[in-house]
Symmetry: D4
Subunit: 227 residues, 8 copies
């Protein structure tokens, strides 16, 4: 949603699909159900931009309310023009010439939950951002169904390392990149795909990764319009 | 949450307990998963106050994005000072002299979902608002466990009538009241308790009921402080 | 669907809501999964009209393929102009002045199956036919949520008697009637509501009840147009 | 069922086993529960043959009612002489000399659903058509239990590629072939077995694949009778 | 099965329907999974007749192997001519003039276990024996669906009393009787229907009740043949 | 277990049946999974006797570790001579002359959990203590299966009132009594049976009730030996 | 059980562990719930020995009642001296010098079904017969936990081939052998371990395999006694 | 817990995380629900130290009450200063320089049981002891997520061998060691990791392994303090 906010603010047509009725993934639950999140200086800069209240905790760490953070970013992203569709699952990707990712194959999340056999619909997209967390589901589809190589050392999803918050937070920014033609990876999925450590309850890297994903998308989109 | 926003804005110490990780109850899902809501003129006034975008649909009806509505109200309620705890279930009420409701008995929602046998904790409250929807769970506890009479014609929860949106929207405001000493009922629970019709996907009455519940609470609280 | 076929053929705007993806209720499964159905002379007349093949079994009984019967009636009802929406559940009824039934409150069947909390949508209807089988769900809603009296001896749903095929088949036709203003009951629901015996694997009465329900609806509709 | 219709029309003894009570697989659910299907010119030719109503959508695409399509094809296939047994699952294949597929091992679908341990029965067949969709279950049994090589590049089930409707629709016809002695593959299973792209909610290829499977079967059957 | 054995031995056409794949109800599990049963002198007489090995335990009690007992009685009942159908559930009863029970409405047990909606088949019977244990299911159907009075003090199923083995064993013989026209009750169901105490792991009364039920049936059957 | 400790210490033959593998009911989970318990002065006296560490919290309240409390009491009760059988469920009671409770009908807890149909075994007991918490299961069996009157105002289980810790803690001692011949009720079950308020996370009353139950049993037992 | 009968008849101490409460595995369910089984001449010889009624069907095939077959063999095996423990699962094997199988690690089947964590008990055995059907569970334990080589071509469990009744029936006898020191494999497990075809509803090979397993065991046992 | 007791007694800050509400893993269930455990001379020495009653069984084996053993060790470990947190699951490990294990990633066990998506919290630890039984979960995380080599012959978790109580009991002591920097393995996990045989219901090795793990930890800790 952070990425969606920045993209929409630039006038890009932006759509977010969320599998749950709930937005924000694991963030509303905070850490072990205590609904607070922790960010560092860099993350605080983004929360300030969104006007989310933070409280200094010491050592360069700040605490915020996890529900205030999620709802405020969601509210601002929609206001900026992003469209968010909840309760929708990504079943597959759409490809075209050169096996480039050119869209998503979508279904109601209720359909598989209810054990129904119903066909999906499709949506074209110039750029897809995989922000599906630890599972990095869209990257997995590209590897498993296309047999394609990702731009990682192993050519495939390497899998996240155990938790090392400081390293994880640092590497997530550089891992937020176009990992396959038409597919950017962001958030925890970025570290999972490139084999970087897990981050833990410090959510600053998540927000910065969203900001970075928007930048990457904005670099790619004009090139597409030319060709 | 609407009630929480108005209460917190007046400087009242306000806490919301939400059973789900997700906030906003059924509102994020819109009508049949199409995530839009409909309000009338009166409801639009509230959405304008929260600065939620609405689009005229005709005949005095307005459409809004259900996620924008939920996230914006949540964001503003927390900013106004309300505390929201998600993933917490109400197991029981706390009573004192005269069987007045004086607090809630709470547990992690994960505990019953996981089938664990773990005791709850308690929280004192001067006024409790039952906004548990069709089930009106807190009122049911008062009737079933206390054997107490509510201020309805039948003395108990009458149960909502089938859908008649216009009547339901109208009656919800007057049904939003202190239904038992220390217990206000609001939202769909108000119509369920007083046997008024269900409202349907027109969410204006919900918001107005929240506003009204805050007014009722603000009338009751000073009286408590005196005694 | 039989009723839908006859109504649509008369130019009436007809919509069928089916909870399953599958149409035809219990008929496709035949008797104990042996996919044949049995009808008497009277039922055979209807199958002949639909051009469904029957084979004489003796004693005035005829056998038909349960899938041919269901698919052919469905195919012809749609051709005649009826609209069938599958995977949709009826959650409630809509009422207006005098508590007359004036529509249905609908949701995707996948929503409750998936355990989601999502609000329904509504559809107006001049006449509603309850063909929900043994459960007679719409009549139950009218009794339980409205507290209304049905036109049965007990004023409520009496419940089907044990199986007595001959009597059940005979009484179903007269039980197919307007049981509450705006609500016709047909098929097994008719016998359940009026306390007549269950019918068993002889499906002739089901088809004749559908035909009768269409006649009853056609009698009621012009009266509504006048008023 | 399309294949069954053409085979039965030629006087071939044809039996269809369907795991569900419902016939037509994913077609009755349309796309994301909106019960319409889309076909191109070529698919429309088949729907015209079955006398299914279509409406032009533009660009050579036509829309049809998914329930009308399923029920009409089912109705006509049975009328043409095909036998359809629903609620029956294929557990295994039967083999004879040279490990040729010569029949199916069947059980009530209710037996595994109910977690019962009950042995199956068998049915001989000159030609088996695997139309089990994405899972291509019968081909998987041949590969996994027989260790046999299919007539694909990899000798095994390659797995469907992500969605590319145009390519998928084109390749499905040539992938509809005898993939192992006595075993034809059709529908989505054909593309899954040969590693062609998924097709999406455009169902024309499905119907044409059924027509082609019938042609392939009719070529094989006389040769069997001679030997 | 004990009753079936005695009835079949007299040349009566006897059919047993067993819901489980397993025969013998709770007997194969013995007491708390220790697969032994206990009988008194009277029960030993029957086990001797079936040629089941018993070992004296003292005080007039004898121990037998629960699997030997079940399998031997089953083996002998079938040899005597009884037909046993396992995996079949009783859904309802069939009635005729005077609401006399004249048969059973049956379905595969797998059908409800699998959550399928499939209609049952029916079987005529001159006399039905309810040996469904604590639940006394057939008697419950007669009371709940027919609204009929049983020949008990309360006119309905009274429900078993807590365990008092000696009294329960004694009363079960006199409670084994025709409790409604066409319906005999036997085994634990007899004590449940008449409100006698539960018996516990002493299975002698069960066997004697089976013997008595056969006698009762043999008294009733000739009278039916006359009328 | 507290009762068992005191009874065993007096040389009484004492057996505890615990449904779970885990001992101590809800106590090991503390309040909302924070594994601490709170007791007042009176409860502290018992914890001191058991040599459980407590920390003063203020206002006459003391905190203890919930696992230390449970494991220490269990350890001491067994050392004192009590036998504890875990993973055993009470299915029913055993009665004798005058419907006096004279024992329990027991089964492995795994049997119903596994959905198996296996008969129970029985155990004679001079006095039974119902310490099954909110559900007061043994008292419910006496009321529902025997139709007997308990020594409460209503003659039946009245049901616990909402939480009022101070009152609940006070009344639990007097509610710990012989509620039916041969049956003492203790712990939360005592308040549930007599309709007293729930106690919450203050566990002192629980311990004192255990102590009181042992006293009541010691008063009853000698009288039994005489008669 | 057939093997148990022959072993016990020779005076060997024989114990059968059956995971279900029900004995006889898939045999009581017959073929697709029609409770009959089919045997050839050779199988009929065994059924005659057990005195099970058979009816000629033609072409050297005979039909028997599946319940009569199971219960009669069970009854006779116990009479011959075999001990059968039902509701017991094999969790692991016991080994000694040379990794020879020397016993079984057993638990109540109810324990894993109930999701409990409870340790097993062990039982020494000179020879173990794996008759666990398609899954050949004991052989799998030997391969997976011991890393041992079985006496098959692949050294491991090869897995059954698709159904070819004639070949499967023939090969099962030679596949019934000591597949690892101390471990004989019999019944469907024999064909699964050696990669022979599945047999289908013809149960003759099953019975003959049981007879053969007893012979193999009787050859091995004396050698053990010597060493 | 045995290790925790010895560590805490030496003044080490010791924390135990237990996934269940119940402490003691499989020990409270004894063998097949009979709640007794067996130990040899060496194990008896430890039980004597904990003052747990044992009874000689013969051949150097002693029997103890499984609940007395678990509760007494738990009680003494807490008294010695160890902190035990129950209902907490280990989701991951925390690493630092050189991929050394430096802590645990924890969550409420109720969170995954309830199917919630909630982030964990972390806890630093100088030394982690994996006592997760057969599954050796923490070692598995180190191998699977870090790709690290353990100090076993295979470099990975080898998996336990079938049961050979004498060998398993002997080898568990030497297998209790630091298997990876910062990670000690103890109890059944030690044998699973090093590929030693399973031990069965003789719990002496378990206790001795706990004692040994404490010694290993006490050797490692001072070295850490220096560096």
């Amino acid at each position: 949603m952070t990425a969606a906010h920045y993209l929409a603010r630039e006038g890009t047509k932006t759509v977010v699909f969320e599998r749950q009725l709930r937005i924000g993934g694991g963030m509303p639950g905070g850490g072990m159900l205590f609904n607070r999140i922790v960010v560092q200086e860099e993350g605080k800069r983004l929360l300030d931009e969104f006007n989310v209240t933070t409280k200094e905790y010491g050592n360069g760490y700040y605490i915020a309310d996890s529900l205030e953070t999620t709802s405020t970013i969601c509210s601002k992203a929609i206001k900026a023009g992003a469209r968010i569709f909840n309760s929708i699952s990504v079943e597959d990707v759409m490809i075209r010439e050169g096996d480039r990712v050119t869209g998503l194959v979508l279904n109601w999340s209720a359909v598989p939950l209810a054990g129904l056999h119903v066909d999906p619909l499709t949506m074209r997209a110039k750029v897809v951002i995989d922000a599906t967390g630890h599972a990095s589901e869209i990257c997995q589809i590209v590897v498993n169904k296309l047999g394609a190589k990702l731009r990682t050392k192993a050519g495939r999803v390497i899998g996240e390392k155990p938790m090392w918050a400081e390293v994880g937070e640092r590497e997530i920014i550089e891992n937020t990149q176009e990992v396959y033609p038409g597919l950017i990876v962001a958030g925890m999925a970025a570290n999972a795909v490139f084999g970087a450590p897990r981050m833990g309850p410090i959510f600053g890297g998540m927000l910065l990764s969203g900001e970075r994903a928007a930048e990457v998308a904005l670099e790619i989109l004009p090139r597409l319009k030319v060709s």
